[in-house]
Homo-oligomer: 157 residues x 2
Amino acid sequence: MGVLIVEHKLGFIHANAGIDRSNIDQEKDIVLLLPEDPDLSAKKLSESLSKHFKKNISVIITDTMGRPFRNGIVGFTIGSHNIECLIDERGNKDLYGNTLKFTQIAIADELAAASSLLMGQAAQKKPVVLISGYKFMQSDTANAKTLIRSEEEDLFR
Amino acid sequence: MGVLIVEHKLGFIHANAGIDRSNIDQEKDIVLLLPEDPDLSAKKLSESLSKHFKKNISVIITDTMGRPFRNGIVGFTIGSHNIECLIDERGNKDLYGNTLKFTQIAIADELAAASSLLMGQAAQKKPVVLISGYKFMQSDTANAKTLIRSEEEDLFR
């Protein structure tokens, strides 16, 4: 029993994530992997749900991860469709009219964390959470890859 | 204009956090710091709000932070009172009756991320979010220091 830090080929870097043995039958010699292309999975779900319910439904696919520096796992976004995952506040003004220089908000990760509170991690059997009332930006072309920081831009490494 | 990775004396490690010049008057030569003892501030707020409203009110104080490996900032917890920040699912069973070995959930950080969606980062003027309906564990002694991973236990370092 150990802990692994894994860089997934999709670009995610986590402790104990991406390969899961919980919530599957451990009598069988199998593990649970991430979707091969989470953004594509989100796109397919978004399109088929939108068609079925005759509404414009955006989709976020989440997992939970361990983090550097902090204890406990939190929900985050591995794939998405029809939602801007990152809101760029750079250039906008704060309360005093000062221009924000750095602020980009990972709203898809915040929505993932919020939904994770309702989904739970053990035997809650709540794989889907419906988010309503939150004003997000739709986008046909946005996906969750925008949330992955390139190695060159990552000062933490 | 640069980016700093800062280890705050309170134990937080972030990019561009802990010392803020946004949402203050930049004509004055001042910066905005974190509370000196965020758990104590949360305790005082919790006690005075509980007294005023004659209800048992728990408090989470949040900030937003940049993260390793991922783009965008998210809300997280810097101080708290009367809420277990970390839910320990270790020893509990999953859907198949398997015992969870690692799972501790940083629910205070997930609540902070959820509330951050409503607070915004620019000129929204929403410094307080009321969370209701979420079943958390109350605790007189719990605080947000449980969310900070000790250097010895941090495989990412």
